[in-house]
């Protein structure tokens, strides 16, 4: 909310400098910043009377004027098309500096000397208007300081209000807070009791829930015209567009008191004014010409035949103030915040009025607001107030709250005496009384809808007492069971392992484009769709981390990266039985640099990644994973047909690994040979908490043997290694492949596998004879199972 210091000062006596005021308000929870300080910005800018305006001999667009600025007439060159003799204008004298920083000096313009400048509104920093000079009220005296005449030396603040403080959405609201913190007097206007409207207009509330109080004040004989400068400036400074004197009066008083008002042209009202719920589907056109079919619950201000306004939101097209309006019905009311909010949400209309009603206006302030506006309409438009209809069947009354200052002190951690509590609450406008046992009974003022319970008052006490005055203490925290093996810790462990393996962590959005999933042929459960989106494409939650990583890889390759090695750990979402299942996954993708293209041709990137994943899984779950060929119909479409495997942990499928299918690579605009994996973090946690058990190390020397076997090329090495290890009866402590050969040296369709074996016995020293026995058994087994023969 924008706040004018000059306006505020009309409502509260305080002598705080602007910076101090902003600091005080901020310390009260009303975050306030100075946005503009115009103090001293209008020196040497005065009122002038244009005596003459003659053509410039050297420029068609310029005029040579003579201006009375209080002394000798000044010669001023002026380029504004609207300058004319007889005008009262703002003159920046030589030596003045305009708010935009322009220094006024004596200068020659196309050969003619000029001693000052006649200003436009924009040059004075009042509005954006720059098409001509600003023409002032003729009543102003030549030579008078413009700042005091036009009330320009203002300071503007931006007050950032939290939604609970609807009572501060006005000059009065802020003035109340200033008064509470400084003790300065609040300058409330007083009015004589208005004449009761008994005859003529009828006012009826049919929907009392929506409208606890409705007032209508009849004002006759207004003459519609623009408002005077001071009013327009204040409205503009607060971000409200001036319209005419009557409408401006309603807006002005709203900004001033926080009570929104509405003016109807009396001619448009047939019969009584009724506040009722709209009929379901009732047609209504707002004053900006938009048509609505209203909802049944929307509160409507209507007459006997039609709707006049959506209560608290916006007036109707046909009932507003026109240039020829003479008689006005001025509405001031208290509407139910929830009903206004609903109407505003349903229609999509948010106004200064609905904003305030939603946050709760002062039901008791309704009358003062109405009378203030009536007074303005009288002054500005010559309107004569008539009958005041005030329908307020049941007073909106705050309940008294019992508060224990001692308890307040216990919550805040600083002692609060009864006297302190009493003083603070009274300053905030609560009616307080002592109720024995050290308790207070406080009835909040009608503008504080946010005060309903004891804790609300504790907060008030903390605000006014000052949060700075609460000493810092250190609590002794309750003990808890260690969560070190929790999901968060596991995620961190996995992330660290991947980082150590050369991967960069990425964080992608959880929402994805459904097209990505379709491109990949991902069918892992139904996706969760989003109702509203950040952009049209990102319409569902991810069911896999892979699409996001492919996008990220593609993005990076387009940026010129040669090698992309990224991983991500995050939740994926699936719809299952009407519920959302969330599971934490980790996934990665690896591209290759130029030098590794050869490896890619052999599919060795698969094995490189497999090694990394194997390390991470073994380390994180304390169990070595198995990589199994997926069964034919469980193959992933987006992976290279034969270069993919399922990852198993303790007999359970926990993820997959594979090389991205060349066609998918094309779809996502990434290079060939990329390999990726995805794993369930939760599945890895199954083994968490398992402690490794140490077993004795053999003290007896072992022996090393190498063997080369020739087998059919389609026999899997993994199977042969398994066979070898099984045959050893626990005496083969190591079996590693150190060479794989296909070529001239072996028969076509066959391959040679060279293994290094290590034999070990925990009971005794391995002899060559022992080795020969193991070797023989092993060769027999691989021959039988895999058709392997020793390479000759």
């Amino acid at each position: 909310m924008k706040l004018s210091l000059l306006w505020l000062n009309e409502w509260v006596d305080h002598n705080l400098p602007p910076e101090k005021l902003a600091e005080k308000l901020t310390s009260l929870g009303l975050e306030t910043k100075i946005t503009e300080n115009r103090r001293g910005a209008y020196k040497n800018i005065v009122v002038g009377k244009v005596l003459s305006a003659d053509p410039h001999p050297n420029a068609d667009a310029l005029r040579i004027t003579s201006v009375n600025a209080g002394g000798e007439p000044l010669k001023i060159i002026c380029g504004a098309p609207n300058v004319a003799p007889g005008q009262t204008v703002a003159v920046a004298l030589v030596g003045a500096t305009l708010p935009n920083g322009l220094k006024i000096e004596k200068r020659k313009i196309r050969g003619e000397e000029s001693f000052g400048m006649i200003c436009s509104e924009s040059e004075l920093g009042i509005s954006a208007e720059s098409s001509g000079i600003m023409v002032l009220d003729d009543g102003l005296k030549a030579g008078a300081e413009i700042a005091s005449c036009l009330e320009l030396e203002d300071v503007m603040f931006e007050v950032d209000l939290t939604p609970n403080r609807g009572d501060c959405l006005s000059v009065l609201g802020i003035a109340r807070e200033v008064s509470a913190i400084t003790g300065a007097r609040l300058k409330m206007p007083t009015f004589a009791e208005p004449q009761k409207g008994i005859h003529g207009l009828g006012v009826e509330i049919m929907d009392a829930e929506a409208c606890p109080r409705y007032t209508a004040l009849e004002i006759s004989g207004v003459k519609i015209a623009p408002s005077p400068f001071k009013i327009r400036r204040r409205l503009l400074a607060c971000g409200v567009r001036p319209i005419n004197n009557v409408v401006d009066a309603t807006n002005y008083v709203m900004l001033e008191t926080g009570n929104p008002l509405h003016a109807f042209d009396k001619r448009s009202v047939s019969g009584a004014i009724v506040v009722r719920a709209a009929k379901n589907g009732e047609d209504f056109t707002t004053l900006d010409g938009a048509s609505f079919k209203l909802d049944g619950g929307t509160a409507l201000i209507a007459d006997s035949v039609k709707g006049l306004a959506i209560a608290g939101v916006m007036g109707g097209l046909d009932s507003g103030i026109n240039a020829d309006t003479t008689d006005v019905i001025l509405e001031a009311a208290y509407f139910n915040p929830v009903r206004v909010r609903r109407a505003s949400k349903k229609t999509g209309i948010g106004t200064e009025s609905s904003y305030r009603f939603e946050r709760g206006v002062d039901p008791e302030g309704v009358k003062i607001a109405s009378l203030l506006a009536a007074k303005m309409m009288a002054e500005l438009a010559g309107g004569k107030p008539g009958g005041f209809h005030d329908v307020y069947p049941k007073t909106v009354k705050a309940e008294a709250i019992t508060i224990s200052p001692k308890k307040a002190g216990a919550i805040l951690g600083v002692p609060i005496s009864e006297a302190t509590a009493l003083d603070i609450l009274t300053r905030l406008g609560c009616a307080c009384e002592k109720s024995g046992d050290g308790l207070l009974k406080a009835t909040p003022p009608s503008h504080r809808h946010d005060l309903g319970t004891e804790i609300d008052l504790v907060e008030e006490i903390s605000r006014l007492h000052g949060l700075d005055n609460i000493p810092e203490t250190t609590p002794r925290l309750p003990q808890h069971e260690s969560s070190r093996e929790g999901k968060y810790a596991k995620r961190r462990e996995i992330n660290r392992l991947f980082v150590a393996s050369g991967f960069y962590e990425a964080i992608n959005f959880s929402f994805v484009n459904p097209a990505w999933r379709k491109k990949l042929g991902l069918e892992n459960g139904a996706p969760v769709r989003m109702e509203n989106r950040i952009n049209a494409e990102l319409g569902e939650l991810r069911t896999s981390l892979i699409p996001g990583l492919l996008q990220t890889a593609s993005f990076n390759l387009r940026q010129g990266e040669e090698k992309v090695t990224i991983f991500e750990t995050g939740a994926v979402f699936r719809l299952s039985g009407g519920l959302v299942e969330e599971e934490l996954f980790t996934a990665g993708i690896m591209t290759i640099g130029e030098e590794e293209l050869m490896a890619s041709k052999l599919g060795r990137n698969f094995h490189r990644l497999k090694g990394i994943v194997s390390n991470v899984v073994s380390s994180a779950s304390r169990t070595a994973p198995e990589f199994r060929k997926p069964v034919e119909n469980a193959k992933k479409e987006f992976l290279y047909d034969h270069r993919q495997a399922d990852i198993f942990l303790g007999g359970r499928r926990v993820g997959f690994i594979g090389e991205v299918h060349p066609l998918t690579a094309d779809d996502f605009d990434i290079s060939a040979g990329m390999v990726c994996f995805e794993l369930s973090v939760e599945a890895l946690m199954a083994g968490a908490g398992k402690t490794a058990k140490a077993s004795a190390i053999s003290r007896f020397p072992g022996i090393k043997r190498d063997v080369a076997l020739v087998v059919e090329e389609k026999i899997e090495v993994g199977a042969i290694i398994n066979t070898i290890l099984e045959t050893g009866g626990g005496k083969i402590s190591h079996c590693g492949l150190f060479d794989l050969y296909q070529g001239q040296q072996v028969q076509a369709g066959k391959k040679s596998l060279a293994f290094r074996l290590f034999f070990m016995d925990s009971e005794k020293t391995m002899t060559d004879k022992d080795g020969d026995e193991i070797m023989a058994a092993l060769l027999e087994a691989v021959a039988k199972k895999h058709g392997a023969v020793i390479r000759g």
Partner: protein, 347 residues
Amino acid sequence: MPAENLIEKLLSLKGEVASVPSPADEKELESVRIKYLGKKGVLSILSQEMRSVPADQKPEAGKLLQEIRSTLEGLVGSAEIEIKRNKVRREIEGEFFDTTLPSIQPEFGSAHPISAVMDEITDIFSGMGFQVEEGPETESDLYNFEKLNFPPEHPARDMQDTFHLLDVEKILRTHTSPVQVRAMEKYGPPLAVIAPGKVYRCDADVTHSPMFHQIEGFVIDKNITMGDLKGTLKAFATRLYGADVKVRLRPSFFPFVEPGAEMDVSCVICGGAGCRVCKQSGWLEILGAGMIHPNVLKASGIDPDQWGGFAFGLGIERIAMLKYGVDDIRLFFENDMRFLRQFKGGV
């Protein structure tokens, strides 16, 4: 007098040997060795003469012989070592070695800066004794709003632009605060929890991302005060920003706490003098906090007359942006390797 003769010879040899210079290279060394210690060397010849020495003089001659031998062996031995070492020194001496050649690095990646900051903050709090809890990212209105004292149709809900889901009565959580309620329901009081995680709001510009990260923390116990909140947050700020950091609390509003506050720290860029980042104020807002609202305790099955607590929540991205000097939040989620690589090796 062959015996006297031998002793004399040995004595004169002893004198000679004492003044043999240490051989400077292998050639000299070899000639010394051959001359004195070789098969036909001086010592060998004199040893043979020992046979003809009378018995009473044998000990003296033997002792002299032994002395000379060990002197020579010492001389030869140490010269041998010295020559070898000199040879290595000479080899290395002239070498040109360029330490500025690019390193041969083992491949090493990096944690995402958001993860790094989140872990750093989580560690600070778990070090104080908070336990880590996480909650679902898809939440119900009940946990995200109602139990946190956001009445239905209250303007406070406008503070958070919510993503709604189709097919299920769920939303994407707009803050990590629902974990408060979930943890209270799960464990009951007393409790001290820190809850890091992703949150979502339908809003995007240079300082707002539709997905971002928060850390929620809260303590429930008997006799917890707002002073405890201040002390805990001060300790946190000190560990994050160092002992010189100043903090202040300003009253603010969040439906689930009352009294509510926001915490500012003295600007980490200018130290409080005023700069572009703190908009000349000298302060940076880094978190929201307050005393847990009695309605939240009640909604979580905890008696507010018995127990009380404080809660706080902070946005990771904001802290990371300040820490790393990132001025566009979108950089965090583009995952450009050129950006990520900057956080390699210790963030």
